[in-house]
Symmetry: C2
Subunit: 136 residues, 2 copies
DNA sequence: TTACATGCAAACTGTTTGCAAATAT
DNA sequence: ATATTTGCAAACAGTTTGCATGTAA
């Protein structure tokens, strides 16, 4: 994704293209789909010599999520992950590496879902397939 | 579930039936399926005049989970939930009430699941259907 | 020029832990 | 008698926030 496209992406989301946001968006959306934690993105930003504080990384991730640019994925064990792929898909979670992997949901077919209780509607379905190393 | 059954349940799990564990197990397994947080279980224990510290509630929930008596459910937003239903099922999550509801998976049928990467096997599949109130 | 964004450090939440006292076997 | 468990308070991790400073429009 080009610099201009990133600029435009932020503008569309109603977020001012500040130096920090551009840097973080560059890291997030510059290459393919990614899964980051606040900590890991902050580390990357430091390595890239983008002066960005951890607090700003948190704020930015939350703003991006709220704007629909990211999707949050909850995993047991405190740490939150943010996924740059906001299209319809589910996840493998590699328990040994604590890492998420996207699964395209194209040919996934869930049948027999019960109806949402009245007055409520489905806002999202989260599916996480947890994988453990095969025991020797 | 009777007192004796609870006693036996702990014994089978290799956990000494201390006063605190019996009290917490009584609350957890005494009636039907439940979803508790450490905080909520602690509050219940206090109300029931069982002298149990919050630290012990945490430790006990973890021990019970490790013993397979409980299942942990991760939801975005820090707080962990523990489910007394350890059979195969999935969850509704009522976003407005921050509450979990079990869905029996009897007639649920998931097709087209991709294969686990080699060297790994599925240890669990978590499905959470998030529900929001219908906008007026 | 003004409303919004940033950085720092301090606050906060949920959870874990070290250790002395208590308890189950 | 001895190994385990408990409770407290302190430590801890991840995350959020207040406020002075900096920056985009």
């Amino acid at each position: 994704m080009s610099q201009t496209a990133i600029h435009e992406k932020l503008r569309l989301a109603g977020l001012r293209p500040t130096r920090q946001r551009l840097a973080l968006a560059g890291l997030l959306f510059g290459s393919g789909d990614r899964h980051v934690s606040a900590e890991s993105l902050h580390a990357e930003a430091l390595k890239a010599r983008a002066g960005v504080s951890l607090a700003t990384v948190y704020n930015t991730l939350n703003q991006f999520t709220q704007a629909g640019l990211l999707r949050e994925v909850a995993i047991e064990g405190a740490r939150s992950y943010f996924d740059t792929n906001v299209s319809n898909h589910i996840h493998f979670f590699l328990e040994d590496e604590e890492r998420l992997v996207d699964i395209p949901v194209a040919d996934l077919d869930i049948k027999g879902l019960p109806q949402a209780p009245s007055g409520r509607e489905i806002s999202r379905i989260d599916v996480i397939i947890r994988l453990a190393p095969v025991k020797a």
